[in-house]
Each structure stands twice: as C-alpha cells, then as structure tokens.
Symmetry: D2
Subunit: 359 residues, 4 copies
C-alpha cells in the first residue's frame, strides 16, 4: 500500500471495489458521488464485462484478479462485495498487504477461517478489518442503542426482531435465510445487548405457498445470550408486501421499538407511549440541507442551478411584504408580481428540482 | 471567476461562504465534510474573529470584505448566509462576476431590489442565482409534490401548514415571523401548487404569555392562489415544545400529510389511510450505508476502523453456523466462541461506532 | 305527564320518538336494545308507514300527531328527530307539558325562537331541554376537555377543526354545510374553550368538482371567541374518502389532537409526543365485557349461548395444563384433547360469536 | 329454573352473581346499569359482608350458599366469578338445574373435570355453558378475525401475541401467569386460527428485578397448532408501564396488527400499510350517541338534564346564522347573544356533562 492518495497529492482514499453485483455497484456509486475523501480507482469482478461497465461509469480501471487489485499501487483500501466463499482469501490478502478492508457479511463462510482472521489481525498493531453490518449506522438503531446504554429501559430483558422481505430468489433456502438475513439480527442483538449469543433454536411452522418445497419460510429463531436474555426473530422473506425490519427491546422499566416508520417509539414507566418531538430545524431538515448543497455544487460545476431560482426568491419577498402589511392592517392584502420574466432563462416561474433524482 | 477548480486540477468547486453565523457555519461544515466535489476556500464575516475560527477549522482563508471574496481568484461560487440586508449588494456582485450563488432567504429585503435581480439575471445566458428554500429537497416534500403531480389527490384544493418553533429570540416580532418563518410556507405553497399567491390575510388572536408585549404569536395566515386555492398557515414560534412543520394537502380525491414523523400519510378514495411499506433495503438503509462508508473512509484515512470488526464478523459466522444446525436438527444448538482475542487490538468484543458522532 | 313509568310499575322512562328518519330510527333502536331504564312507547313521523314499521319492530304504538304524542298518557319524555323547522312547536309543547326533551340540532331554525325557548325554560324550576350535541359524550372529546381543564396545555390559544364527509346529497349547499356540519364545531369550540363565539368569517376557494355549481365545498370557517382565541374549521363534505373529524387544540404549553384513530395524542413541553398507555384491562376491554354480557343475556333469554362454550373452556384448561408443565420442565409439551364431543350440541369445536352482529 | 322473569312479568333475565371480587363486582354493576334485559336478583360471595355491600348497591338479595343461589326461584341464569377451584361444583349445579351460566375462566382447574362438563352438557338438548373469554367480543379482535376469515391475509402462518400488565400481586408466579394470562392468548389463537393447539413450549430468560425470586417474568410461550402454525406469546406482567395486549397475524398475503391504539393496521400485498378511514358518523360516534342517550334517560328519571341545554342550542343557532351571512357576504360577521339568561336554571352558559362520569 502506498501512502494514502500520495500519487494524487489530494489525500483521497483510493479504493478497490471487489465484486460489483448489486451491493458492490451500490457502494461503488456512493463512493463516487456522495462520499467525501474517497475515490474508486480499481474495480474487479468475476464478470469482466460488469466490472468494465461500472468502472467506465465512475472513472476507475478494471483489474480482473482481485488479489492483484488488493496489491495494486493505486489502492489504499479495499471494499469486498464478492460472494462469501471468496472472502477468506481476499480478507487475508488485505491483512497481508496491511491494507484496510470493509468486508460485506459474512466475514468468511466457516468458523475456523473467521477465527483465523481474528487471530491474524490481533498480531498486527492496528485493526484493518471492518464488517458490513450497516445497521449499526442507522439512526434508529443508534437511537435505540443510546436509549439502552443511557438506562432508559432499565435492564433489557427481551428483544423481538422481525425481518421480512418482499421476495427473494428461488435459491434462498432455509439455510440461506439464516446466513444472509438472520445474520443481521445476530449482529443487532450483540450490538444492542453488548454480549455474546450462546444458543440458537429454530421453530419451523407452516410455510407460505410462495416458498419452494422444503423451505421453511417463515421461521422463528430464538437466541439466548450469555446473561440469559432472550431474542426472538421472525424471518420471513417471501411476504409479497415489502421490506420490514422491526426491533423491539423490552426492558425492566419500559420498551422501545424501531422500524415503525415513526423513529423511536418508547413506552415508559410514566405510563406514556410516544417519541421525541424534533427539537429544531437541523434535526428535521439536516438531510435536506445536505441534498440542497450537494445538488447545487453538482449543478454549479455543470454551469447551471438545480433548485429555486431568483424568481422564486422575488415572489417570496413580494408575498412576505404583503404579509407584513396584512399583519399591520388586519386586512387581506393583494400581491402583484408584475409581468413574469421569461427572457431566455429558466428562473421565471416556479423552479422545481429534478424530482426523480431527489427521491 | 477562474475555470472551476483550475488552480488545483481537482475539479472541485471552490466556494466562498459569506456570513458564518449559525446557518453559514452549518453549511461551511457540510461543504467541508459531507459534500463531495466542493471545498470552502474563503470565509468572510462581519466578525473577523468568527470567520477566523471557522476558516481555521475547515482549512480556508479569511477575506474580510465580502465583495473581495466574491471576486477572488480562488473562488468559483458563493454561498451567502449574511443578514438579509446585505444580500442585495452581494448577489449583484455575484451576477457581475458571473459566478453561481446560493443565497439564503430572503433574496433581498424589498420587492424592487429582488425584481431587479430577476431582471438582471434574465439578461445573462445562464441562471446564476439559487435561493435557499431547502424544503424542496426534503424527501417528504418531494414525495408530496410527486403525489400531487402524479394526480394522486386529484386537484389540490386546500393546503394546511403548521410551523412551530420551540423558542425564538425576543427580537422575533410578528413582522419577523412573516419574513423568516412564513416565507418557507410561501415557497412550499408555490412549489406544491405550482402557481403564484395573489393575496395574504393574517388573523391574530390571543398571544402566548411567552411572547413579548405587542407580538402576535401564534397567528393564522391565509393565502389565496391565482386559481383560487386556499392555503392556511399557523405560525407559532414560542411553543416550548419543539420544531413541528406539517403540511396537509386536501384534494378532490384524497388528502396527504407530511411532518407526522411517519413519512407521507395518505387518505384516499378507496377509504384507506396509510403509507407505503418500504419496498427494499436500499430505501430503508440507504442512509445507513452511506454513513457506514463515510465513516469507514474517514477512519481508514486515520489508520483505524470505525464499526464492527473482525471479532464481530467471527461471532456472526459462529452463531449462524449454529443456526443452520438448529434448522436441520430442530434442536437448541449451543454456540462456543472460545477464548476472546484481545491482544493489542480493539476488535475483540463488540465494537460500537461512536454513537455521539453517528447521531 | 304521568309519574315516570307509573302505569307499568317498572320505573322505566316511557319515550316518544318524533321523526324516525335515519337519526330517529337509530335512536329508537338504541332505546329499545342497548339503553337501560327506557322504553319507546310512541313513535311519530310525517310518514305514517315509516312510523308503523319502526313501531312494530320495537313494540311501540304510532301516534300521527306529534303534539298528541307529546301529551300522551304513556309518555314521560320526548326525543325529537324531526326536521329542524318542526322543532320550535314541538320543543315548546314539551315545555308546556313539563316533559323532558332531547332535541336533535338545531334547537330551532332561527335566533328569536331559540332565545324564546331559553327564556321560557328559565321561568321553570328545572331544565327540560337537552340538545343533541353528542360529541360532548365522545370519549376523545371528553379526554381533550379534561386535558384543557386540568391545565395540561396551558391557555388554549388556537383550535383547528376538520370536518369531512364521504359524500352528501345534492341539496347540501354552502348554507346547509354551516347549519348542519359546522354547527358541531360551533358547539365543540364552546365546549372546549368554555366561552362564546363573537364573530364568524368564511373563506371560500376552489370547489371540488364533486360539488354542484355554486356550492363552495370545501370552505374554511374562522371563529373568534370572546377572549380573542381563534378557531379554524375546514368543512369539506364531498371528499370521496370517508368521515374525518379532527380537533387540535394548540395551547401555551403544548398541543393535543383527537380524531387521529389514536385516542388523544399530545405534544408537550417536555419535548415528547404521544399518548397514555392503557393502564389496565377495564380501560382496554371494558366495552368488550359489556358486549359479552349483553349478548349472553340476549342469548340466554332465547335459550342458547352466544360466545365461547364448554369445549372452548376445556381446550383452554388442557393447553394451560401443558403450559404449566412446559414451565416446569423446559420442554415442549404435547396437548391431547381426545375425541371431540359433537353429540347434538354446538359447543364442540371453536365457538364463534356472530361476527356480523358484533361488528 | 322458573320461566324467565315470570315473577315480574317483565321478561328480564334474573341473574345470580357468584363471587363479587373485582370481576364479579364489575359484572354486577354492568348488569345493573348498562345491560338491558337483565337484573341481578341474588349475590353470593365467600365473604358475606362483601356480598351484602354489592347487593345493597344494586338492589339484590344475598344468598350465602352459592348452590342455593343457583337453585333459587328468583334466578334464571348464573354468572360465576368465584375463584377457579369453586367452578367445577358450581357449573355442574347449573347444568343440573338446566340454567344458563357465564363462567369466568378457567372453566375448571383440571382437564378431567372440564372434559366431564363438556360431556355432561353434550347430553342436554341445548348449550348452557359460556366461558368468559371476552376478547372475542372486542371490536379489534372481531375485525381481525373477519379479515382472516375473508381471506384478506391469505393463509395465516404465524401469530405474535404480547400480553403485558402494569403490575400484579406477589402471588402471581410463573404457573399463574400461564393459567391466568396466557390462557387469553390460548383462546385468541384458537379463535383466530379456528383450530386446536397441539403443543406448548416455554422459554425463560432473565427475569425483571420486579419479579419475586424464582418467578420467570417475562417468558416466551410458543404454541404449535394442529395444522403446524406457530403462535408466539410474550407474557410479562410486571412491566411498570401499563396494560398492553397486541396481536399480529402474519399471513401469506399480508399481516395485520391490533392493540396499537390505532384499530386494525394492515400491511398488504399492494405495498401499503394503514387502516380504514371511518366511513361515517355512526362508526365514529355510535358509542357517543349511546352514552348521550343513557345519560339523558338517567337524568330525566332524576328530573334534570345531563348535557348541552337550551342556551347551548340557542348559541349554536346564533353562530350558524352569522356563519350563513358570512358565506353570503364574504365578510367577518359579529355574533351577539344578548344578555345571558341565568334566572334559576342551569342552562345558561355552556353546560358540560359530568366529565368524570363520562370518562
């Protein structure tokens, strides 16, 4: 590994993305448009044509051999989104190269190789491996974790998880449901409760007609933690409805639920249910401000604007002026904007950002 | 204006931020950490010490004279967050310099000067002025606009707005409430209904005891649009509760509300109320993925990780392995992680991201 | 008027129902099935055939002349559900007969006659006239009133009302919308704020295409109260969606809303939104217990049961016995109910109450 | 058993209430005030003084011996709310007397005696025994059952139940939690799924500090039904929060939840979540109408009114008259009620029903 970004003098982290199927392509796009301080320099995939397509779109080069990509001069860090069975060799190559790696779950596909990575890394002087359990970064999970840590629920006794998908491929069998879906609840449980899981039980029932023969979908999974807490998880991946991920933590002094499309909802010992009123505009519109800025920056670099223009500002001033007079007089006050200004530019009339892009 | 970012060869938009009070500092921070493709090169403020503090933090230089900042060689675009009375001169200077400007509301403080800017810009060959009505970028407003545009509510007949703040400074009088708060609903109404406002009426009632003498807080503002639609707006800025911005659009074939902490809630002609189930993980966890990536990139540049580590990956593999056996056997299966690996690194045990930073 | 129920010696209130259109028939049915201590003895309607049909169903007699019904020997009290223009004469006849009357709104159709009734009643020694503003008895309005009275919102400053209907007859014009729908919000405002209304303003906008020509639907009505509080009311009676009656009271120290299908939802000065967790089973299932009892009583009088039977009780005992063993052993315990008992009676298997009737 | 109510000629069902602890007293009060067609004639309790107190309040007589009460001449039906161990003898006495009985759960305290009752009743020509599973009469459970029966969820695969109490007596141990609380979910599961439970498993974890030593609170109970469906039930009776009873049914084509204080909330295959908008005023205010009528009847029998009076009717007429003029003129119209009428009666000013009573 070279010094970070040294070839460019920009300090940007130069990243190789290994595997550009759905997740890898999603990450490559983010690293190329929304994430600051990073740049994808190398793309690798089992299918070269796919790698080529992504690389072209984001201005990176293709390296067919993932190990060569890890060892490349223009790579400071690696994002692994290849199939699980490739992870062991690739993560080890990153450790050998002393290069940071963000590895999508699973770390590897068996216990021994995962433990070997833990032990190999423990002999280094810094952590290099991060695993892609992204829920730890979701604002709702973060709020729930904070509530627990702050003691807002007392001792957390039971965790109920629900994980439902709209639909999955035929190949998604019961074993795969554990490895690919329940694995998230494994990490969420460990994250929220801050302790290890010591046993697992799976309860199978009637399967949905949408499941292939022999596949138990849904299933109820029950974890027991080191201190004896219970975690239940309903895993149901062919609901035909949508993506529902809910977590309820039931504690000694209250319970809290996320995933209700209502942020964190708490039931507490004062007999109330509900949540927090947003305290201010930063919490409410912080994301909107960032989107506004990012799109303005992108538009300015293209030589245009992408949002409300001068006419919108003028109209607002005119209406507010009338509003101020209405406050003073108590009367209905007319607003006259005069002739609209349309000569040659896009700013007259009401300027909408590109809705599709913003969604 | 120089060619965008030409001095650096990086293509980044070099931005001068004028005014670094609360909003300006907030934007400057975003442009320096979360927004890609931009860099704040110059900071200007009436208070040099404040400008100095922000500039130091984000690696920019200070320019006392805002007009000089606009004209500087290392400035490609300008973000104006100065007090409203300074906007006229500064926006005009940006137009004169043919440089893009994002101007916080109000565009200017009187109708004539705002109209003059519209007309001056109309004689140029491209739009340069964007006004900071950030709600047009808020995902809920975007979804509501899309619902209207797609005809989901039929003809929108009435819009009800609520704008409440926790508290405001003593100086926030009734006139200021119109200019600073109601102005957002002016733009929201124009944005959602796609037409101009032609009259304003203000209804004053009993004021909260928290309001200074002579200040009408709350007030009910009523707009009439060109086609005769009605917009009501409750503006109440000393609620003591929090920040509540709600908008309900009542149409010929249903109604929809945002700002309920429930995304977009629709009541429609099939007699149902509710919203859309999140279709997939990108919609649910897209933001979490971006936070994960940004923090991993930032951590990698500092030589560490900032999220679940190798041990977390190992523990998940071990629990899932037991889970797969539990699926097969129908029995409770124990998980044994063996001795924890703690030698010298942070990855043994459950690795939490920095919660405060993530919030 | 005779002594209450004297002819029967039962103490039941013998009621004449005047007008058995939709509301009158609804009330007559309630007085004959769910309301204790009363009996409809006389039914009167402009259409004798309709009176006959209802009277037959509930075991009453028909009296064509409403005034004769009021004066009848077998009538202790009168419920008036005739058209508004008939109310003046009928209420006055009740006052003359010194007989209690529950009069559906409006009391009368003009101010002078209503005031005359007030003054005539004031010369009696007891109140006889009650007006059918039933919202004062709705548990949500009662809870909202209590919250205000207890000071939970501080001084109530603004009330926002929404009154929407699915559809109304063609004849429901703007004037009728005031007299028939807004009248409820008139009473709700007076009830909640405990003061009189001193002015009314109506704001008309674009009408829904579902409204007949010349009818303003929706309208925004604004009331001002004696102490200067503001009430806004959106009245929209052809929504095509359903029946929505919402009331939000905005006070000095919080706000509260009813009509959200969530009981009373409060936003308060501690920065929280939400409601009260049901404290116990009586609050949660009190209505269910009463329905259970009423239906058991009705069934017993018919010589049967109407709810879970002996088999349901047996099955529950058997499952709980297994559950207790499961608690003790930690094992899965099988339940064996033995052969089902079906000889000649309805109680084997799972006995469902009549769902339609219960809805 | 005598002919129903023959001694009185009123046709009322004459009921003996056995056991007037909390549940029995609650039922006795309902049968004496809100339930039509019934009258409590006899009260019996292990504690004569308690029986005396209740009997005096509701106008019944006391019979110390419950079996004598069952056999009494003035008793047509029996409500059993004694401790469970007394049920066997008392229910059998009712069967012997050919008299209908509503027995609070449990039917009896062991399987054999419950089955014996089922078999004894099967030899009669009509059902006599109803068991007090009142949830089958709760409008939310009824709506959920109807949704399932109508096929709205497809095949129901999994049922998740939550049963939480604020607090319970010290004596409420793990076994009691099964017999007294989980028993409701036993019946709910059978009712909703329309099939028998064939196995039970109980998962114990860390107990709340509020539980006595040795009591597992909370517990997770798992039922398996005859067709292989899974029911999970969290039973937690010392939450310190309140009474929460939730049921979620997860089907092949959607899921539905009750107990959220939002009526029935459904997630369905069209990707929407939500509920039904109330179609009309009967559904929204039906209960309020009944409360209004019952209180008016009760008040009329006492010689007064209990609700909005003539002044309220007059004020509404006056405001609506102004409203109609406001519609016509587009102006703000003043309302003048003239001097208030206070001479000697309660109807001037705003007349509130007794809030406590209405709650």
């Amino acid at each position: 590994m070279s010094t970070v970004g040294q070839a460019q003098g920009t300090g940007e982290l130069r990243i190789a993305v290994l595997g550009v199927g759905m997740m890898g392509a999603f990450h490559a796009e983010a690293l190329s448009s929304r994430i600051r301080g990073a740049r994808v320099t190398v793309v690798s995939d089992f299918f070269d044509a796919l790698a080529e397509e992504i690389a072209t779109r984001i201005g990176a080069r293709v390296e067919s051999d993932p190990i060569a990509a890890i060892r490349a001069e223009d790579v400071d860090a690696v994002l692994i989104a290849t199939p699980g069975k490739a992870h062991d060799e690739q993560v080890n190559a990153c450790l050998d190269a002393r290069i940071p790696v963000l590895c999508e779950k699973p770390l590897t596909t068996d216990i021994a190789s995962s433990r070997a990575i833990v032990e190999k890394e423990s002999r280094l002087d810094r952590p290099l491996v991060q695993v892609g359990f992204m829920r730890r970064f979701d604002p709702e999970y973060v709020a729930l974790k904070k509530l627990i840590t702050d003691g807002g629920l007392g001792n957390p006794l039971v965790v109920h998880c629900t994980h439902r998908n709209l639909a999955v491929p035929e190949s998604f069998n019961s074993e795969f449901m554990i490895r690919d879906s329940v694995v998230h609840e494994v990490d969420v449980s460990r994250f929220l409760l801050d302790e290890e899981i010591i046993s697992v039980q799976v309860i199978k029932g009637v399967a949905t007609g949408a499941a292939p023969a022999g596949v138990s979908d849904p299933m109820i999974v029950v974890f027991e933690t080191a201190s004896g807490r219970i975690v239940t998880d309903e895993i149901y991946v062919r609901t035909g409805v949508g993506y529902e991920v809910r977590t309820e933590v039931v504690g000694e002094r209250g319970s809290a639920t996320i995933g209700l499309d209502q942020n964190l909802v708490v039931k507490s010992g004062d007999g109330r249910w509900g949540g927090a009123v947003t305290p201010g505009f930063v919490e409410r519109f912080g994301v909107a401000y960032d989107i506004e800025l990012q799109r303005w920056v992108d538009a300015a670099r293209r030589g245009t604007i992408d949002g409300p223009g001068a006419w919108d500002g003028y109209a607002a001033v005119a209406v507010c002026e009338a509003g101020v007079e209405a406050v003073r007089t108590g009367q209905k006050v007319a607003v006259d904007l005069g002739p609209s200004v349309t000569a040659g530019v896009a700013t007259a009339g009401i300027t909408a950002p590109d809705l599709e892009a913003a969604t």
